[in-house]
């Protein structure tokens, strides 16, 4: 397919990359490459000469793409980050979703839209998963701290587990703080005193 838009996806995680490719394939027929290794990124991209580059905003190597904007004279604008302030909020949506796209060959905006729509939807999902993972980790940490605080109270006061938790909860409510914070304070203080 000679006229297919060529897209490079910069993504180290194989699974994520495959999922982005699948979403894009649903959106249209594109010629898609994946770059997983970010060393020498701008050279690799120049060699493949794509129309569009998609990269996760969290990826620090994104800064190397800015170099492409200077590669063959800034006045020709061979590379522009797709975002401009004229469009219908698509740029903001992309940034919120955590994807940045670079248009390399001055492509028509209407040809870019389906690509971005698909990428944005996929990246939103990744971001939800990222948040969920962080939340789960935090909840797990907090449970551990609460358990330790409960154990300390049980030992120090000779009370049962339910009673220890009730005491933590009551203290938290009296002080307008979260149970996890009270538990953390207790654990920290105990560490200092021991």
């Amino acid at each position: 397919m000679p006229n297919a838009i060529s897209i490079i996806i910069v993504e180290a995680d194989r699974d994520r990359a495959t999922q982005i490719v699948d979403s894009l394939r649903d959106a249209g027929a594109y010629d898609i490459h994946i770059i997983g290794e970010t060393a020498g990124l701008s050279r690799k991209i120049s060699a493949l000469n794509p129309d569009v580059v998609l990269i996760d905003i969290e990826n620090p190597s994104r800064d190397t793409l800015e170099e492409l904007a200077l590669a063959s004279g800034p006045l020709d604008r061979p590379v522009a980050m797709f975002v401009d302030r004229s469009d219908d909020g698509m740029s903001s949506a992309a940034i919120e979703a955590g994807v940045s796209a670079y248009v390399v060959n001055g492509m028509q905006p209407q040809r870019l839209k389906p690509i971005l729509d698909a990428a944005i939807a996929r990246f939103r999902m990744f971001q939800r998963m990222r948040t969920e993972l962080a939340e789960t980790k935090r909840a797990l940490e907090e449970r551990k701290v609460i358990d330790r605080a409960k154990g300390m109270l049980m030992k120090a006061r000779g009370i049962g587990e339910d009673e220890a938790y009730a005491l933590l909860r009551k203290t938290a409510m009296d002080q307008g703080r979260r149970v996890a914070d009270v538990a953390q304070a207790l654990v920290t203080a105990a560490g200092l005193l021991s």
């Binding site: 620090p60 190397t64 800015e66 004279g73 940034i95």
Partner: protein, 390 residues
């Protein structure tokens, strides 16, 4: 108006200190604001977060707002520099192999002579020098171009400047991707610490008073939220004054070292704060006066002439019209907003532009209270930039 929360983006570097200190040491609270500090993964992301309103203010490389005004990179939102956050603070380092060649040539690593170091570097470079900088629009890139072209190495033809994110700089030099780098602390010290590089020069040896990071805001936000911006400027200015006191250094490095900020050992951060740098894995030390300034010599003042110098360098490198670039750059550094916010609080210069490179020794200048002195700001080759004559 109590309790306004401002989201402020930063990149994990020692020179983000004024923002972190403003929040942590209560200077923001004194102004009735809370800074919600957001660590950004890259300069381009931070610039976009600012352009699209995810943050109200940002820690920014001084050439980025100028580049944006010139249409280089970014989404086209007008960005203003309301304050300079820091002056100087970068280091130039080389790979262990290149350091060996420099030593074999007889270079002394005196760490204060940009001409000697630059000539030695050019002589030791075999097939073209590859130098890593954090961003194409950065004081790092501008100083490297200025330094090497003044010494006769044609830039950009004779030198390959590559963009490498600061946390990956040590790795890139270890992997032989680059021969040298110019980077902000603590990443130069980190390269020494990991045994992958040695330091050749502080950036202040090239330009003794280079505006490094600025407090960047959207121009339209600055117009609509002038009062709020004033509070932010004052909080950050007081943080800079606190940082300039040597007795603050220990606490400041501990704050910066925290996991939410730089998440690095405080002893590595301490080197930039005190200007006492370890330049080689063998442990050689060099003391650099004025290595990183947050306050002294009206460091926070955004001189229009600094912006013009940056604009002219960018124009020369990219083939843009010089006069237009100067005009566009001049508007970006907002000495007017800075002065308005600090009127009656800080002793600020009476002028908004100066002859860059003309101050050779600490010099008193006209100011509100008459007690202000400027620190040396010479370029290593003695050139000056006079905005009135260019």
């Amino acid at each position: 108006m109590k309790g306004s929360v401002l989201s402020v983006g930063f990149i994990p570097l020692v020179d983000a200190a004024p923002l972190i200190v403003a929040q942590e040491m209560g200077f923001a609270a004194e102004e009735g604001i809370t800074l919600d500090l957001k660590r950004a993964p890259s300069w381009s992301s931070l610039r976009d977060m600012l352009s699209f309103g995810q943050v109200e203010a940002a820690h920014m490389l001084s050439p980025v707002p100028v580049a944006s005004a010139l249409g280089l990179g970014g989404a086209g939102a007008r960005i203003s520099a309301a304050s300079v956050l820091s002056v100087n603070g970068n280091v130039i380092g080389v790979s262990r192999a290149l350091a060996e060649r420099l030593r074999a040539q007889g270079h002394d690593f005196a760490f204060n002579d940009a001409r000697a170091a630059g000539l030695a570097l050019i002589a030791a470079a075999r097939n073209g020098l590859r130098i890593g900088v954090p961003f194409p629009f950065s004081m790092h890139a501008e100083l490297i171009y200025y330094w090497l072209s003044a010494l006769g190495l044609p830039a950009p033809q004779g030198v390959h400047i590559r963009t490498v994110p600061p946390p990956l700089m040590a790795e890139a030099i270890g992997a032989g991707e680059i021969d040298a780098f110019c980077v902000g602390e603590p990443w130069g010290s980190q390269a020494v610490e990991t045994g992958l590089g040695e330091l050749l020069l502080p950036s202040s040896a090239i330009w003794a008073f280079a505006p490094e990071k600025v407090l960047a805001v959207r121009e339209d936000w600055a117009e609509h939220e002038t009062a709020l911006l004033g509070r932010l400027i004052r909080a950050v200015w007081r943080a800079g004054r606190w940082l300039a006191d040597p007795s603050s250094h220990v606490l400041a490095t501990e704050l910066l070292a925290r996991p939410g900020y730089l998440d690095l050992p405080s002893e590595v951060l301490d080197r930039a704060m005190t200007g006492r740098l370890v330049i080689s894995p063998a442990g050689e030390e060099r003391q650099v006066p004025g290595f990183l300034e947050f306050h002294r010599g009206a460091a926070t003042f955004p001189w229009r002439s600094q912006a013009e110098w940056i604009g002219l360098q960018l124009a020369a490198r990219t083939g843009l019209d010089r006069m237009e670039a100067r005009r566009a750059a001049n508007r970006v550094f907002r000495s007017d907003l800075h002065r308005q916010a600090l009127n009656g609080i800080a002793d600020l210069p009476g002028a908004s532009a100066k002859i860059e490179g003309a101050v050779r020794v600490e010099t008193s200048v006209a100011s509100a209270s008459g007690r202000l002195s400027l620190l040396p700001d010479a370029f290593f080759d003695g050139r000056i930039f006079d905005p009135a004559k260019e």
